[in-house]
Amino acid sequence: MTPVSSKQYADDVSLLMVLIDTNPLFWSSTATSFSFPKFLSQFLSFLNSILLLNQLNQVVVIATGLNSCDYIYDSSLSHTNQRAETLLQKLEEFVYKDEKLINKNDSVNGVGSSLLSGSLSMALCYIQRVFRSGSLHPQPRILCLHGSQDGPGQYVAIMNSIFSAQRSMVPIDSCVIGSQNSAFLQQASYITGGVYLKPQYLDGLFQYLTTVFATDLHSRSFLQLPKPVGVDFRASCFCHKNTIDMGYICSVCLSIFCKHHQKCSTCGSAFGQPQTSNLKRKAPDNGND
């Protein structure tokens, strides 16, 4: 798929939607050099510096939890003096709410995956509202600070949000603070024209953020930003959510399956018989043994 090129912005005012990963299981498994408090402090300084870059810049923070997502901070609504306090307050309330939503019967394997699709959708809705507020609006972009693994169950929803971001020409930058590369975020950044980065030195995260992710869209046309060497474009099948590179596709709704099914689970259309190989045509040599 050819990625869209970002619009040429004449202005360098930006609206930055930050999606931070607050999956407690992930944070409890990181090394002590990069714990949640350290992350938070670097992140808050980054937010302050974004707002310093331009008077009209706006920042909105959305927290991606295990069971829910919510808006944590909106710079256009709150008082300038107490940014960190309001943000942290809201974050604490969010964590409380998220904990209450734990379903005791669900057993989560490993680190679990946070609801990236949910927070992406919320960010895109906010951006749409900004688009409709008039022609004078800051140029929006999304920054994902993500660490948990890719939840294969969210493949479809995430791909849908990526495509709608592509349509609205909103770049999705990704900064992966976990241990593995995220295929979803790689695809997201490639398709929407954003930057994907997996920092090597996590205790210098603030430096990464200010060097790479603080750049506004207008300046990106003449700045060199890091590019990933390759993108894993493989799709996941709709039945088991495994990544596959060869499979069956429904010709009606284009859903992908890894093995033959009688009917499509998305649109319900019935499939025909699979084409068996033509080796059967050479009759087995029964008489000539």
């Binding site: 407690p24 734990i102 989560v108 959510k241």
Partner: protein
């Protein structure tokens, strides 16, 4: 065997003693040369023409005869020394006939038009030309096979552009004042069929007059004379004179008065105007009846007596009418030379239109319905819910998948990082860290200088490295960085491989010998390309080598698969043929 040479005698009939000579046969033709050059019985016939063959029975007749029939009347009889010879020849002839009939089937009579199209296509598309040269000239593919897959291209070319019809001229020559000779009192005018057509199209009253007057009342020449007289009078813009002339000559009056038919048509049009449009269509739009067409002109101030009214004409009217007719286009093909038929044709087309509208009573009803619908005032309507179609998603859980837990178990290769704490403990620690930072505040410095410089170095190196490797634009293709010769070669190989593989895979399973030959030829070409690709990989510069080998790899894989399939098939065939007792190859 491809050729058979035998001693034989050529007989023109069974009784004929026969001319001794040599009969030589190839798959395409057979030829007979007599031993004695004085006899003029040289034969050279293509097997295409041979319809059948007959031979005499071994036990019954004395001579070993072979009769090759061309048509009902013409046949060639050959006598052989031994029956064994005759048998050999007979088998050969049978094979040759089937072979040539196959080929004849394939050698379609390619019409010259088809040939032209092919040549044109080849000239336009250089890539196609290269492929054509490579394969057809290189005897890998037959001409027909090459074009068989490109029928669509040929068809698209052959549908020529539809001939454009000549439209109406936009000049109004018939309204021009006829040329007058300054010296004498004569006025001359020219009338061409084109002008006649135009006059009839623009002035329906004239057309009506023509149909009714000619040939009953006057000849065509008189008719046109009167017409031009009327034009002349009008061109003088003397309305009083016009009235006087009209009073004298009744026929002339037809030309001088305003066109009644046009007026009727205009009135009809007004009635059909859709009142739901926001423009006020009223009688004022019937501009033909308004003096000066609604334009404020000075001339309309002078009051004319009522008797002169019908004789007024204005230039604007004529221009508007002319424009309307030209825009409508040619409704009748002006091939007919006969004036009368043109007039009738135009009249009939107009009447057909009217009849259609009259019979279409539904149209009127629809219009009324629409009018009543649109005159409703929206504010006063009850709110109508938009019609809903029920959303049909099959079980959403299937779609959004609740098997996440199971799949996570099965996903290989993802290192499972075990959480050190259970989920409630994890949440607690999260809350603790938040409150900790609330009390402590942001750390100072945010980032230590050593770490920051390490980060900077890493980023710079990363960026410059990837720029060097991949170029400024991450979506730039590797092909563009290669020297153009290599790029051209690679692209050409790619298209040729696709062509070859298409023909190769479509020939399986092999049922006839021609397919077998084709497959062999294709395999030969594929091995050549394979070697060429290996050559390219080796010869390219070291910095590009890795990327080129990545590019070339899918091509090599495809070729490998094809060759492997071919070899497996060969083995099966040879195994089969070894088992059959009669060794039929």
């Amino acid at each position: 065997m491809t050729q058979l040479i035998k001693r034989a005698k050529y007989k023109s009939s069974v009784k004929d003693p026969g001319v001794p000579g040599i009969l030589s046969m190839t798959m395409e033709r057979f030829s007979f040369t007599p031993n004695d050059p004085s006899f003029s019985n040289n034969l050279n016939v293509e097997f295409r023409h041979v319809k059948g063959h007959k031979s005499s029975k071994e036990g019954v007749s004395k001579f070993a005869l072979l009769n090759l029939t061309i048509t009902d009347k013409v046949s060639y009889i050959f006598q052989f020394d031994t029956f064994a010879d005759r048998e050999l020849c007979r088998d050969f002839v049978a094979k040759a006939i089937t072979f040539s009939s196959e080929h004849q089937h394939k050698d379609e009579q390619i019409s010259s038009a088809e040939m032209n199209r092919r040549i044109k296509l080849l000239q336009e598309d250089s890539e196609l030309q290269k492929l054509h040269k490579q394969f057809v000239m290189g005897n890998v593919l037959l001409e027909t096979e090459f074009w068989a897959t490109r029928k669509k291209l040929l068809d698209a070319n052959s549908s020529g552009k539809a001939k454009q019809r000549v439209g109406l001229k936009s000049d109004m020559t018939f309204n021009v004042k006829p040329a007058s000779d300054g010296q004498s009192n004569r006025v001359t005018f020219n009338l061409t069929p084109e002008m006649i057509h135009q006059i009839f199209a623009e002035k329906p009253a004239v057309r009506q007059a023509y149909l009714s007057f000619v040939p009953r009342k006057m000849t065509e020449k008189e008719f046109w004379t009167k017409y031009w007289k009327a034009q002349f009078i009008h061109s003088n813009k003397n309305i009083v004179a016009a009235a006087a002339e009209a009073a004298e000559d009744e026929d002339l009056a037809v030309f001088l008065k305003q066109d009644a038919i046009l007026a009727n048509e205009a009135r009809h049009k007004i009635r059909k105007v859709d009142p739901t449009l926001d423009m006020e269509a009223d009688e004022g739009d019937d501009y033909t009846h308004i003096p000066g067409h609604g334009l404020a002109t000075e001339n309309s101030k002078d009051e004319l007596e009522a008797q002169y009214e019908p004789f007024k004409r204005s230039f604007l009217q004529d221009i508007n009418r002319h424009a309307a007719v030209v825009l409508e286009g040619r409704t009748v093909d002006a091939e007919t030379v006969d004036t009368r038929s043109v007039a009738e044709a135009l009249a009939s087309s107009k009447s057909v239109e009217l009849a259609k509208e009259a019979s279409d009573g539904n149209v009127h009803q629809e219009r009324l319905d629409r009018i009543t619908r649109m005159t409703e005032i929206e504010d006063l309507q009850a709110s109508r819910d938009p019609p809903l179609a029920p959303l049909c998603i099959k079980d959403p859980r299937d779609y959004f998948d609740s098997q996440q837990v199971n799949t996570l178990n099965q996903l290989p290769g993802i290192r499972q990082v075990k959480p050190r704490l259970s989920s409630s403990e994890a949440y607690d620690s999260l809350k603790v860290s938040i409150s900790e930072i609330r009390s402590v505040g942001l750390s100072d410095p945010t980032v230590s200088p050593e770490v920051a410089s390490k980060v900077f170095n890493e980023l710079t190196q990363n960026i410059s490295h990837s720029k060097y490797q991949l170029g400024k634009n991450p979506h730039e293709s590797i092909l563009d960085t290669l020297p153009s010769i290599t790029k051209e070669e690679l692209l050409l190989h790619w298209t040729s491989i696709q062509e070859l593989l298409k023909h190769f895979w479509s020939s399986y399973p092999i049922t006839t010998s021609s397919l077998y030959n084709k497959v062999n030829r294709l395999k030969g070409a594929m091995s050549e390309i394979y070697n060429k690709l290996q050559e390219i990989k080796r010869s390219v510069q070291s910095e590009y080598r890795h990327q080129v080998s990545l590019l070339v790899q899918p091509m090599l894989q495809a070729l490998d698969a094809a060759v492997a399939h071919y070899e497996v098939d060969q083995q099966k065939r040879s195994a089969k043929s070894a088992e059959r007792p009669n060794g039929y190859a």
